[in-house]
C-alpha cells in the first residue's frame, strides 16, 4: 500500500510536468491548428537557461529566491524565444498548407537541437548535472518519503496551472484567445488582432514549457540537448489524449500519462515505459480520436 501511494505521488509529479508541456501544444493547436514540434526543444532550453543562470551567472543554489529567479529566467527567455520563433518561422506561412508549417516546425526543432549540441555555439552534446535549485530535505509522512523538491515541483505546477486558468478565462487577451480558437475569421471581424493573440499564445505556451523544463530537470537532474524529445512527444500524446485544443483535457491527459508511465516503470515491463505513451496514443486515436474531453468534429464540405 505504501509503495502504491509512493508511486501515485511520483506519477502525479511527472503528470504535472507533462501537463505543463501539453498545455503549450494544445494552446498553439487551438489558435493555429498545427503541431508545434519545436515546443519540446523550448522545454529543453528552459532547463538549460536555469542551468546557465546558476552555473554561469552565479544565482545561489539551494535557496528559495535563487531557485525562483532561475525559474523566472527560464520562463521569460523561453517566452521570448517562442514569440521570435513564431514571428520568423511560422507567421510567413500563415496561409500555407498544414504540411508546410509542420515541416518548418520540424526544421526549427532540429535547428534548436543542433545549435544546442554544437560545442562552439551551444552547450555541447554531453549531459550535464543539474544543480539543486531549492533547499532540499526529506520528509517522512506515514511510510512515504517526500522530498521538498517534489513538493516544490507540485506547488509550482499547480500555481502555474491556476495562473493559466485565470489568464484564459478572466482576462481580455484570454478571451481573445478563446475567440480565435473558436473561429479565427469571426474573431478578426470583431476587431481582434489575430497576430498579436497568436504571439501571446506562443509566449505563454513557451513560458510553461520552460517552467516544465526546469521542473523536469529538478526531478531528473541530468540535462542534455536532446532531453526534450521524449517528454515532448509524451506531452503531445497527453494533449491528444485529453482532446487537442482543450485546456482541461491537456492537464488531465498529462496526469494520466504520468501515472501510467510511473506504474509501468514499477513492473517488469519497465524498459518498455517509453513505448507505453505511443501505445496509448494509437489506442485513443482508434477508439476516441476526439480525445477524452474533446467533442467529435464533423467535417463540412
Amino acid at each position: 500500500m505504501t509503495e502504491f501511494l509512493q508511486q501515485l505521488l511520483n506519477g502525479v509529479l511527472l503528470g504535472a510536468i507533462y501537463a505543463l508541456i501539453a498545455l503549450g501544444y494544445t494552446m498553439v493547436y487551438g489558435v493555429l491548428r498545427f503541431i508545434n514540434f519545436a515546443h519540446s526543444d523550448v522545454f529543453m532550453l528552459g532547463a538549460f537557461v536555469a542551468w546557465v543562470s546558476v552555473e554561469k551567472l552565479g544565482l545561489p543554489t539551494r535557496s528559495l529566491l535563487g531557485g525562483l529567479g532561475a525559474l523566472l529566467a527560464a520562463m521569460s527567455v523561453c517566452a521570448a524565444l517562442g514569440v521570435v520563433i513564431e514571428r520568423l518561422a511560422y507567421r510567413p506561412l500563415r496561409r500555407r498548407s498544414t504540411l508546410t508549417v509542420l515541416i518548418t516546425a520540424i526544421g526549427v526543432s532540429l535547428l534548436i537541437q543542433n545549435v544546442a549540441q554544437s560545442p562552439r555555439l551551444g552547450f555541447g552534446p554531453n549531459p550535464r548535472a543539474f544543480p539543486e535549485l531549492f533547499p532540499s530535505s526529506q520528509l517522512h509522512v506515514g511510510g512515504l518519503t517526500v522530498s521538498t523538491h517534489q513538493l516544490g515541483v507540485l506547488a509550482v505546477a499547480l500555481v502555474l496551472l491556476a495562473v493559466l486558468y485565470w489568464i484564459v478565462h478572466r482576462t481580455r487577451i484570454g478571451t481573445a484567445m478563446r475567440a480565435l480558437s473558436f473561429n479565427a475569421t469571426a474573431a478578426s471581424l470583431v476587431g481582434i488582432d489575430n497576430d498579436r493573440v497568436i504571439s501571446f499564445t506562443f509566449g505563454l505556451g513557451s513560458a510553461l514549457a520552460g517552467a516544465g523544463g526546469v521542473l523536469y530537470a529538478m526531478n531528473y537532474p541530468s540535462i542534455d540537448p536532446l532531453m526534450g524529445t521524449l517528454p515532448g512527444l509524451k506531452a503531445f500524446v497527453a494533449a491528444v489524449l485529453g482532446g487537442i485544443g482543450n485546456l482541461p483535457g491537456a492537464a488531465l491527459g498529462g496526469l494520466v500519462i504520468g501515472l501510467v508511465e510511473t506504474f509501468v516503470s514499477g513492473t517488469r515491463l519497465s524498459t518498455f515505459r517509453d513505448a507505453i505513451a505511443f501505445g496509448i496514443l494509437i489506442a485513443i486515436l482508434l477508439f476516441r480520436p476526439a480525445g477524452l474531453l474533446g467533442k467529435p468534429k464533423v467535417e463540412k464540405v
Binding site: 498548407s97 508546410t100 526544421g107 526549427v108 535547428l111 512527444l233 517509453d274 496514443l281 482508434l286
Partner: protein, 332 residues
C-alpha cells in the same frame, strides 16, 4: 515525365548496375560504400515519395519500417542461413534476395498494421502515429536480446553489392512510376489532390492510402535489408526519428511527387554529408601568413546547415527544388 519505353530504361539500369558490379573489385572500398549508400537512399526516398508525395499522407516513421526489414533479413542471414548448408554463391544470389523480399514483406505487414487504423485520420495525426510507431520499434529492438538489444546486431554478412543496390533502386523507381501511370494508380494522385472530391467520385480513399503505405513500407524494408548487409552491423539507434526526417527531407527537397527530383535529392543528400566531412578535415592556407585556417567547424555546422536548409526551403520554395507543376500539397 512519362518515358514511352520505361521498361527499356529499367532493363538498361539493371544491366548497368550488373556491369558496374562485376567491376566493383577494382573500385576504392570507401567510394563503393558511399555509392551503395546512395542506392539505398534512392530506394528509401522513392518509396516514401509514394506515401508522402503522391498520396499526400505524411509519414514520419519510415526509418521504423526500414528497421523492421533490416532486422528481419539480418536475422535470416545470421541465424537461418548457416543452417541451410548453402554455398557462398547460393547464399549471395539466392538466399540473400529471398531474405530481402522477406524483410520487405514483414515491413509491409507492419505498415498495414499501422496504416489500417491510423490512415482514417488526417495529416498531423498520421504524422504523430507513424512517429510513435517508429519510436516503439526502436524501443522494442533495444529490449529484445535475441537481436542484440541496445548493443546492436553484429556479424551480418556483406552480401550487398552494386547490382543488388542499384537493381533494387531501379525496380523501386520503376514500380512507383508504373503504379502511378496505371489507370487505378491515378487514384493515389486524386487522394492527394482532394480527398473529399476523390471520395465523392467513388474512390475508396482509405484503401488507396493503405495500399500506398503497404507498398512504401515494403520497399523501406528491402532498403533496410540492403543497408544491413552493406554495413554488417545494426544498431537500434540508427533507425531513430532523425533517420526518418532525413528521408522526409529528401522527398521534400526533390519536390513531393516528382520521380526524378526525389532520386536526385536522395543522391545529393547522401553525398552532401560525406562531402562536408571531407571538406571539414581540410584547411585553407592563410593568405596573410600565419597558421592555415582549419575548416573543422564545418563538421560541427553540418546539421545546423541541414536544418536551416529545411526551414528556408519551406519559407521560400515549399514545392521543392525540382518542381515545375503547381504544388500538389493538400491545402487544408
Amino acid at each position: 515525365m512519362a518515358f514511352p519505353k520505361a521498361q527499356r530504361w529499367l532493363l538498361a539500369a539493371l544491366l548497368l548496375s550488373g556491369g558496374a558490379s562485376a567491376l566493383s573489385g577494382s573500385i576504392d572500398p570507401y567510394f563503393l560504400d558511399v555509392v551503395m549508400g546512395v542506392g539505398v537512399g534512392i530506394v528509401l526516398a522513392s518509396s516514401l515519395n509514394l506515401i508522402n508525395g503522391f498520396t499526400g499522407q505524411f509519414s514520419l516513421g519510415h526509418a521504423g519500417f526500414m528497421a523492421v526489414g533490416a532486422y528481419t533479413s539480418a536475422m535470416l542471414s545470421t541465424v537461418v542461413a548457416p543452417r541451410t548448408g548453402l554455398g557462398p554463391v547460393a547464399l549471395q544470389w539466392v538466399f540473400f534476395p529471398a531474405s530481402l523480399v522477406a524483410g520487405g514483406a514483414v515491413a509491409a505487414l507492419a505498415g498495414l498494421a499501422v496504416g489500417a487504423p491510423s490512415l482514417r485520420l488526417k495529416g498531423d495525426y498520421l504524422a504523430i502515429v507513424t512517429l510513435g510507431f517508429g519510436e516503439i520499434i526502436r524501443v522494442v529492438l533495444q529490449n529484445v536480446d535475441a537481436v542484440g538489444g541496445a548493443r546492436g546486431l553484429t556479424g551480418v554478412p556483406a552480401h550487398t553489392n552494386l547490382l543488388w543496390t542499384f537493381g533494387t533502386a531501379s525496380l523501386t523507381v520503376y514500380t512507383v512510376w508504373a503504379l502511378l501511370e496505371s489507370t487505378r494508380g491515378r487514384g493515389f494522385l486524386a487522394v492527394a489532390d482532394d480527398e473529399v472530391a476523390a471520395e465523392a467520385m467513388g474512390l475508396d480513399t482509405t484503401r488507396y492510402k493503405i495500399t500506398a503505405f503497404g507498398i512504401g513500407s515494403f520497399f523501406a524494408g528491402v532498403a533496410g535489408g540492403l543497408y544491413a548487409h552493406l554495413k554488417g552491423y545494426l544498431n537500434p539507434g540508427g533507425f531513430s526519428f532523425d533517420k526518418s526526417i532525413e528521408i522526409v527531407v529528401m522527398v521534400i527537397l526533390g519536390g513531393m511527387g516528382r520521380h526524378a527530383g526525389v532520386v536526385f535529392a536522395a543522391i545529393l543528400l547522401t553525398l552532401l554529408p560525406e562531402g562536408l566531412r571531407e571538406l571539414g578535415s581540410r584547411s585553407i592556407p592563410n593568405p596573410f601568413g600565419g597558421p592555415a585556417w582549419s575548416l573543422d567547424w564545418i563538421k560541427d555546422a553540418r546539421m545546423i546547415l541541414y536544418s536551416l536548409l529545411l526551414i528556408l526551403l519551406m519559407l521560400l520554395r515549399p514545392e521543392g527544388l525540382f518542381h515545375r507543376r503547381p504544388s500538389r500539397m493538400p491545402s487544408s
